[in-house]
Structure formats: C-alpha cells, structure tokens
C-alpha cells in the first residue's frame, strides 16, 4: 500500500471511496416448459449512493431485494446493465475485464459460506498465500512470513497454515476467508452476509475481528446483511432496499431512532429482541402480503402493495430518491 503524508491522508478520509450512480442490473430469463416466454428480472434499479472512505455502510433488506446484486454489480462480478461506479477517478463499468484485474486487489469480497468458496484441496496457507503471491508478487520466505502475519491478524496460530478447510470450524473457516481478502491489502471490502451462517456464540468474535481490522487497515466496508441487530452494532450508515430499489439511507443513529420510510418502520418493528417482558408488551406492525415478483414489479412505488399509507400517487409514480438533509435520503411520496 502506498503511504501518504498525514495531511493528504486526512483529506482523503472524508472523500468518497466509491461514487455509484444509476446502477442497474436486469436479467433476461426464459420461462415456460419450452423457454418460449421471455421476462426481465429487475434485480437492481436506479441505485445511487456514495461510499465514504473508512465507513461501514450496511445494505439491508429481505431476500430478493437486490442487496447482494448491488454488491456484486459494484465489484463488476455481475456486469451492471446501466449506471456507473467511480473508484479512484475511473468508472469501473467501462473497464474491460483485463483492465479491471489490477483494481481487483483493492476491491475484495467475503462471502457467507467459506466452505463453498475455499478450495477443499488447498491448505489454509496456500489459500491465504495465493492472492498475496498473485497481486503483490510475494514469494519464498517473504510469502511464508506474510501468511503467518495474516493468520495472526485474524486470530489463527501459525500451525493452521497446514490444515485443510474441512478440518476447521465454521468460525475458523470464516477467519481464513477474511485473511484471504486481507492478503490483497484491499481498500474496499464487500461483506456479503459474512457472519450470517455462524453460530451465535461465534458471531460476536467475527464481528469484533472485522471491526479491529477495519481500524487497523482503514478498510471501507459494504456490509450486506439481513440481521438488523448486527447491522445496528457494526454500521456507520445504513441503506434499506426493497425489491431492487433503495428505500432509505441514513446515519445509523438516525435510521434506527427516526426511520421515515414505512418499509423501514415495518422492518424494524418485525425484529424480535432478547427480552421477554418487552416482547410481550410490544405492539408489532405486521406487514400484510408478500414481496412482489421482481419479474413484474408493481408500477409506481414498488412497496405500495404492502404499504399501510399508500395512495394513488404511489401506485402511479416512482418516488424520487431525495435528500432530507443531515445525510438522510429517502424514496417515498409521503415521508
């Protein structure tokens, strides 16, 4: 990593790491027994936001809301069908795969299930060493030392380098996946449900580890998750998505204490809390119905079919993504 003089480093702190505008991902699918019917899946539409350097921006929403698609489209692991992702003055969407490759070192991802992303025939040391060798040209004793250092960073003792993924517990495997991402010395890391599959007693360890590493290496996280309690703990800002579109974005404190979008409110009210007395007393706002199909998203606001305050304008017009001030953004006609 290049070291910057302190003054410049501070200037960069507040600058956006990524500037995303109008990002869109549509898939064409064939339906029916003979694949003769065509349809378009509107997985992601009009996704615009800035990711600030050093922050943890969480993307939340229910399955199928496009949060993972957004992460993959930003990293160009799925090529977006429209929009731009500005990183370091370059629009990633315009780069060919070959031009993209040197940037991949700086943009990493950690997935939910390290069991399916780690090569079962590679030792932990090989898995962690591979990206360090490929992207940073390390070899021999320097590479071995680096692997040991990386394993130490994620709380694994040096002998783990000789183990295979199947010999590890779920938490240890996730530590290896994190070390592998760190091996590239990245700036921006997408954590796609990175702690969702872990047992409760292990989850807290990995959350703490991610926070420590973020501080030590000034990482910027896009944290994709569905567990709102975890999101509340880990985030700087939170963005809520519904059916392929952003619904609300705000600093954590504000989103959890004063949510404005009816979907955010419903989502927060559905989260159970580990307190029997409060749970029994609680009045829940239960959303009727289900998430509509992304193949035929409702016209107007995509949430209107489940929204308790929807009116005619919601059924006809897509609400604009507008700034409420103090970093609070929303797409709702009535908030």
């Amino acid at each position: 990593m290049t070291t910057l003089p302190p003054a410049t480093a501070t200037a960069i702190e507040s600058a956006p790491c990524l500037r995303i505008s109008g990002l869109q991902k549509h898939y064409h699918v064939r339906l029916g027994a003979f694949g003769t019917r065509h349809a378009t899946v509107h997985a992601l539409d009009d996704f615009s936001l800035e990711v600030i350097r050093g922050e943890t921006l969480s993307l939340v929403g229910e399955s199928g809301c496009g949060k993972s698609t957004a992460g993959m489209a930003i990293l160009q692991l799925y090529r977006p069908t429209a929009g731009s992702v500005l990183f370091d003055g370059v629009d990633l969407c315009t780069l060919a795969e070959k031009e993209m490759r040197p940037l991949r070192r700086r943009l990493q991802v950690i997935f939910q299930d390290p069991y399916s992303t780690l090569n079962p025939r590679m030792t932990v040391g090989e898995a962690v060493g591979e990206p360090a060798a490929h992207h940073r040209g390390l070899a021999g004793p320097a590479l071995r030392a680096e692997v040991e250092r990386l394993l130490g960073d994620v709380g694994l003792a040096a002998p783990f380098a000789k183990r295979f993924p199947h010999e590890l517990s779920g938490g240890q495997r996730q530590r290896v996946a994190i070390a592998r991402a760190l091996a590239c010395a990245p700036e921006f890391v997408v954590c796609d449900e990175a702690i969702s599959a872990l047992d409760v007693s292990v989850q807290a360890q990995i959350i703490n580890l991610l926070q420590d590493l973020q501080e030590r290496y000034r990482l910027t996280f896009l944290f994709i998750a569905h567990d709102l309690a975890v999101v509340r703990h880990i985030s700087t800002r939170v963005a809520v998505m519904f059916l392929g579109r952003l619904a609300e974005l705000a600093p954590k404190q504000r989103l959890f204490s004063a949510p404005r979008h009816p979907y955010t409110r419903a989502l927060l009210s559905a989260v159970p809390e580990p307190d029997p007395v409060r749970e029994r007393a609680r009045k829940r706002q239960i959303l009727a119905g289900e998430v509509p199909s992304p193949m035929a998203p409702p016209p107007g606001c995509r949430f209107h079919t489940r929204c308790p305050i929807a009116t005619d304008v919601c059924r006809a017009e897509v609400p604009a993504w507008r700034d409420l001030g103090a970093g609070h953004w929303i797409a709702c006609h009535h908030a």
Binding site: S169, G170, V200, V202, Q205, H226, A229, P274, I286
Partner: protein
C-alpha cells in the same frame, strides 16, 4: 397449565462414526406441560433436533436411541413399533420443520398432501378431507385458500409453504406440536407473520408447543419455559423471564451478552465467547463448556455437573459446578 403432557427422562442418542459411537444427546430430561410453549435453545450440533427426532422415531440412518424414556399418554414413545409411531406422528404430535420445500412431496398437490393425513388419522372421506384441508389453509391465513389446494409446493412462496406446513402440523388437532426452526429460513417480516399465526392457533386450540431454535431473541416473546442445550446436555432450564433476567449457567449468560440488540449500548465491542462448541463426537470429559468458560475450576474438567435446582425447590435448574447451588 397443569400436568406434564410429555416426560422425557435420561434420553441418550448415539451416532455411529468411524471412531465408534458418539453420544450427541446425553442424559436429557425435561417435561412439556399441557398448554405451554417450551423453547429448546442451542447452537448447531447441540443435539436439539436430534432430541426431538428421536421422540418421533425420525432419527437419520446411523443414529439410534441409546437410553431413556419419553412418556406420553401413558406410553413410552421410544418403545413403540413403527406402526404405532405412525399413528402418533401427525396424529398426537404435529410437526413443522425448517424447510418446507424438502418436507413436501413435490409432485402432489398440497390439497392432496393435507387430505392424506386427515383421511389417515381422522378417518375422513375424500370429499370431507378436501373440504377440511381448505378450511385449514384459511386458518393459517392463506388468501384464496380453496383455490390454493390445487397448487403444487413449488408454486408457493417460502412463507406460504411454511403456512401450509403449519396447517398440516395442526390438521389433526394434536395436543403437542413440535416446531423445528420453523421460521429460520424466512425473512423477518414473514417470520413475524408466521409467529403470529402460531400464537393465535395456540390460543385457540390450547396445544403445547416445543419450539426448537437458535434464536434467543425470537424465543423470548414466544416461550413460557426454556431449556438450553450445549453439546448434547441440558445446561439450564427456567421460566422465560427468569432465564433472561437471571441466566445462571455461564454459557447462557455469555450467549445473551454476546447478542447485539436494536438498543444502542454504546459499547464498541461485543462481549464474545472464545473458541467454538466442541465436536458432538469429541466432548471433553467434564463440563462440555469448561474449555470456553471464564469461571472454570479444576473439577469442571473432570466431572459433568448434574442439572440441579438453583435453590431448594426452585423450578430454575442449572448444570454448573460453579454457579449452581449443588456446588
């Protein structure tokens, strides 16, 4: 809430492994009282599902009951023949599993799958069973219930499939419903809907429910009593308020503290539990939690602590040499 509907004593389950049988459930004793919701809480591999499956004769190949009794209706469920068990399953004990997609027959209409149980257990005619099936779908809140009977499982969403699964579980008015992580695969707003359905059903039908889960937040608002399992043994048993207010086993306490909540705590770091749960087959000789426990003493590593009341006569019981009263 009165007498016990189901009494499980000293249940043990063994799984065959290459290095010999591994005891994945050991010495598990608990009761389900009439009309109560009993939460069975633990992490993956703690034996919570194995415990319940063994009661229904549904253990996977390679696993077997190695001891204990499970008394219901004056009979020992563990001693029943296959035929007798079939009458219990779906008849006296309803079941709801985590993943309805793998629990349904994919090539049968859901109406036929519901009607099958009704004809088998309640001796209904084909027409009456079909009609009742439609009523059941309405009870669990499926819109257009009668028309939905002709749907195949793949035509329904995850939340709808779980509703059908619940309809099937309660179709024969069982006094006991076993729900194994019934909402784990669902989104949080759908989970809230399903929890509501089950809560209403329980109020209406007065059945007992055993709710198996890893989610300490979800079970807080649902259960009357909770047992906490760790590595195949019951480490704590208490009324729900008692458990959350005064968790006595170090594992329960640490688990509750490690949960992030929607409340702002201001703490930058979560109190976490070091290490990970032991392999079910390789339990340490003493208390299974000892290697991870902050309060560990010498005797914790040599003998398994018994489940004892926290005070004489208390219903709150804990298996710990250090924090228990049996110390």
């Amino acid at each position: 809430m009165s007498g016990a509907l189901l009494e499980v004593r000293d249940l043990a389950v063994e799984v065959a492994t290459r290095s010999g049988p591994a005891r994945v459930v050991d010495n598990v004793t608990f009761a389900v009282r009439t009309g109560e919701v009993l939460g069975v809480v633990g992490e993956s591999g703690c034996g919570k599902s194995m415990t319940m499956m063994s009661l229904l004769g549904l253990l996977p190949p390679g696993a077997r009951v190695a001891g204990g009794t499970a008394e219901m209706d004056g009979r020992d469920l563990l001693a029943l023949s296959g035929k007798e068990l079939r009458a219990v399953r779906g008849g006296r004990v309803g079941m709801v599993f985590q993943d309805p997609m793998t629990s349904f027959n994919p090539v049968m209409r859901i109406g036929d799958q519901l009607a099958e149980g009704l004809r088998q257990h309640r001796g209904m005619s084909r027409a009456a069973a079909w009609r009742t099936a439609g009523e059941l779908l309405a009870v669990v809140g499926i819109p257009g219930a009668r028309e939905r009977l002709a749907s195949y499982p793949h035509e329904l969403s995850g939340g709808m499939r779980q509703r059908v699964m619940i309809a099937m579980g309660i179709s024969c008015h069982p006094p006991l419903l076993i729900a194994d992580e019934p909402t784990t695969a669902l989104d949080v707003t759908i989970q809230a809907q399903i929890v509501d359905v089950i809560r209403d059903l329980r109020a209406e039908m007065g059945m007992s429910i055993v709710w198996i889960t890893h989610d300490l937040a979800l079970i807080a608002g649902l259960a009357d009593r909770i047992i906490v399992l760790y590595a195949g043994i019951v480490v704590e048993e208490a009324g729900v308020d008692d458990l959350y207010e005064r968790p006595t086993h170090p594992y329960t306490g640490a688990l509750l503290r490690s949960l992030p909540t929607l409340e702002e705590t201001g703490a930058a770091r979560l109190p976490s539990i070091a290490g990970s749960p032991p392999d079910p087959g390789r339990r340490p000789p003493g208390c299974p939690f000892a290697p991870r426990c902050a309060l560990r003493e010498a005797r914790c590593e040599t003998a398994v602590p018994p489940l004892m009341p926290v005070a004489p006569g208390a219903s709150h019981r804990v298996a710990c040499w250090v924090t228990g009263s049996g110390a």
